[in-house]
């Protein structure tokens, strides 16, 4: 995956480029919004990771310009500003996700990968399939190897999110934000408990465990 990182803090940028490269991505770094804009306009990127506050052209201005030019490449904003209104400003400017600094690498990588996938599944699918797991979004039913699995509404949403991001790591924070739609620190392992209940329903009695724990990051649904 080709990723453009636009970040003026040299050390943060170096670490980010390193981390994303390790994760198997091709990364280009631009030192501010103006260079970022020039680089982005060359095209060919799957995701832009953009710092909000930079000299010359800030992240908001850069993304607004790109969106005006019709560039729909997913954008992940990075910012030290984490209040609700800051998040809203970022998303209004055309950002697709918003990550508050400082962040864990696992969180950054999981979100970047989730963004790139989002574009591919833009078409309206009524059935999601991962391995022998099948989800019908209209009938709201789930089958594994032809066997019906009974899920609570929230478990259904949780599984849907995991299936849409099958093969990718998703973090606990991402799940709380995207499935429950809350932005707060739950203090304890509440998400883990929901995951283990879901796991009990979809993996119990099958040879292969699909819902895997990724150490230091979160979870991944494997086919």
């Amino acid at each position: 995956m080709r990723i453009l990182v636009v970040e003026d803090d040299a050390e943060a940028a170096t670490a980010m480029v390193r981390g994303l490269t390790e994760a198997g991505h091709e990364v280009t770094h631009a030192v501010d919004g103006a260079f970022g804009l020039l680089e982005a306009q060359k095209g060919g990127y799957d995701v832009y990771v953009v710092d909000r506050m930079m000299p010359r052209l800030d992240g908001i201005g850069m993304v607004e310009t790109l969106r005006k030019d019709g560039d729909q490449t997913p954008v992940l904003f990075l910012s030290a500003l984490g209040e609700v209104e800051d998040r809203v400003v970022g998303l209004k400017a055309g950002g697709d996700d918003y990550l508050v600094k400082p962040y864990a690498f696992a969180e950054l990588i999981a979100r970047v990968e989730a963004l790139s996938r989002r574009r591919e599944t833009g078409s309206v699918a009524t059935v999601l399939k991962v391995g022998d797991l099948e989800m019908n979004l209209i009938a709201r039913t789930v089958h594994r190897a032809g066997q019906e699995i009974d899920l609570q509404p929230r478990e259904f949403q949780l599984l849907e999110f995991l299936m849409r991001h099958a093969g990718q790591s998703v973090t606990r924070t991402m799940l709380l934000e995207k499935v429950w739609e809350y932005h707060f620190d739950p203090q304890t392992n509440v998400i883990d408990v929901h995951i283990s209940r879901l796991r009990a329903k979809i993996d119990k009695g099958f040879d292969k465990a699909m819902l895997q724990t990724v150490r230091g990051a979160g979870y991944r649904l494997e086919a």
Binding site: P102, R154, P186, H194
Partner: protein, 478 residues
């Protein structure tokens, strides 16, 4: 006050403008009166002259030239306001009190029978009652009589002239007085305003130079300047208040972070010693350091959030409020925490009334609820129960409450546990920063609400007495 600077002052400029406007208006009135009076005087003279001419030409028609001559002599002797000249057909003087007609002799054949009289305005030389030479403005008409003689009749408009002169003089004098008074008034008003503005300005300058304590004197006169001064003072009070609370928050953050930083440093040092002694390897030490850094970051964010909420509470404004149904929030929270609670072997139940609209910061309120539910789960021993309730109180306020069957908090400690970094002795074995309830308290404060700690359901079979934590906040208006 120097004149050039005076000219730049708004009140003085306004005064000048009004004086000028008044002068223009006075001039217009003067001109109008003058023209109207002059026209009237002229019309009156014209009517008088015409009538006199009619009388004289009547005498001529009925009784002949001699009778006219006699009449004219008679009138001249009696002395009236009229001027006469009677001439023969060739323009030779017959009689009259004016030896020469001011009007040119019209050729014979014109104006016969007095049909087309010629009018003219003129002046003549005369002496007034005190013997001074005057040249009054006059109006006269001249026409040929049927016998060819030429008769001129005129009248001075002198009286009107004098009246208008006096009027003009009076108006000019009045204008002068107005100008003088206006200028003096303008100066006075300017100076007063200048002084009042100067007082306000000196406050602004003092604040610019860093003296936030400077205040404008207020006379309670209720005028605009006083209002401005009061507004300025209120603004400065607010500013000073928020500056103080920022300074306080800064101090608090510095203080609050010192102990977790100290703890982290000590743990890292121990890890280093252990790593050197070969008890743990480098990766483990680094993982420990990372998790310590994450904890510290969490503490930092919480302290920052508390400071921000307290500043918001100080200014009376909830940060980023939204109107939403707190019942939905409570239901989501119950749904989110129920599995964790049951996994620990606690009975979890929720009682949520519908339609609890609040105006609140949703993430902060969610965080507050999460903290008290998490506390309840954490401190209630296995086999106990946790209950979440959301309801509208009879006062109309919205109340969330979490009741557990844990050990509770002794009455004397209930105030204290809301303070920052306070952990009761029996809770030290549990993970936590001691900021959870402080954050809840700050969230409630920023929403104009409160946190109330009470005893739970009471002691029974080794449980209890339990704790009931209630969050009370105002319902959304409307």
């Amino acid at each position: 006050m120097k004149l050039p600077s005076l000219l730049r002052r708004t009140p003085f400029r306004l005064t000048l403008l009004f004086v000028a406007l008044f002068a223009a208006a006075a001039s217009a009135v003067l001109a109008y009166v003058y023209i109207a009076s002059a026209n009237e005087a002229r019309a009156k003279a014209q009517a008088d002259v015409t009538a006199e001419f009619e009388v004289l030409s009547g005498i001529y028609r009925e009784r002949g030239p001699d009778a006219l001559n006699v009449a004219l002599v008679d009138r001249t002797i009696r002395g009236g306001s009229y001027l006469y000249t009677l001439m023969d057909a060739d323009g030779g003087l017959i009689t009259g009190n004016l030896t020469e007609s001011p009007i040119d002799i019209v050729p014979r054949g014109t104006g016969d029978g007095g049909t087309v009289p010629v009018w003219e305005t003129f002046t003549y030389t005369d002496n007034d009652a005190s013997g001074r030479v005057i040249r009054p403005q006059s109006l006269g008409m001249q026409a040929r009589l049927s016998g060819g003689e030429i008769l001129f009749v005129g009248q001075s408009m002198g009286d009107t002239e004098a009246y208008l002169g006096r009027l003009t003089q009076a108006l000019w004098a009045a204008m002068g007085i107005v100008l003088l008074l206006g200028l003096a008034g303008g100066l006075l008003v300017s100076r007063n305003l200048e002084r009042a503005m100067g007082r306000l300005n000196s406050v602004v300058v003092a604040v610019q130079e860093g003296d936030l304590k400077a205040r404008a004197p207020v006379r309670h006169s209720g005028d605009e300047l006083d209002e401005l001064g009061q507004g300025l003072n209120t603004m400065l009070d607010r500013l000073e208040g928020s500056m103080a609370s920022i300074r306080h928050a800064g101090d608090a953050i510095a203080h609050d972070l010192r102990s977790p930083l100290t703890r982290m440093r000590a743990k890292l040092e121990v890890a280093l010693i252990d790593a050197e002694a070969g008890k743990i390897d480098g990766t483990e030490a680094l993982e420990l350091a990372l998790s310590e850094a994450d904890d510290l970051l969490k503490t930092f964010n919480t302290v920052l959030a508390i400071a921000r909420l307290q500043a918001a509470a100080g200014s009376g404004r909830t940060p980023d409020p939204a109107i939403f149904d707190a019942a939905d929030l409570a239901a989501d929270m119950a749904e989110l925490y129920e599995p964790a609670s049951e996994d620990k072997g606690l009975e979890f139940s929720a009682e949520i009334e519908r339609g609890l609209m609040v105006s609140a910061n949703q993430p902060f309120l969610a965080q507050a609820l999460a903290n008290i539910i998490d506390n309840a789960i954490k401190y209630t021993p296995v086999g106990g129960a946790v209950m979440l309730r959301a309801r509208r109180r009879s006062s109309g306020e919205i109340e969330f409450s979490v009741t557990d069957t844990g050990p509770g908090v002794p009455e004397d400690d209930r105030e204290r546990v809301i303070q920052r970094f306070v952990r009761l002795d029996n809770s030290r074995t549990e993970p936590g920063s001691g900021l959870g309830l402080s954050l809840v308290g700050a969230v409630m404060e920023a929403h104009g609400g409160r946190i109330v700690l009470d005893e739970g359901p009471g002691a029974y079979e080794g449980f209890g007495p339990g704790l009931r934590v209630a969050l009370v906040l105002p319902a959304a208006e409307g």
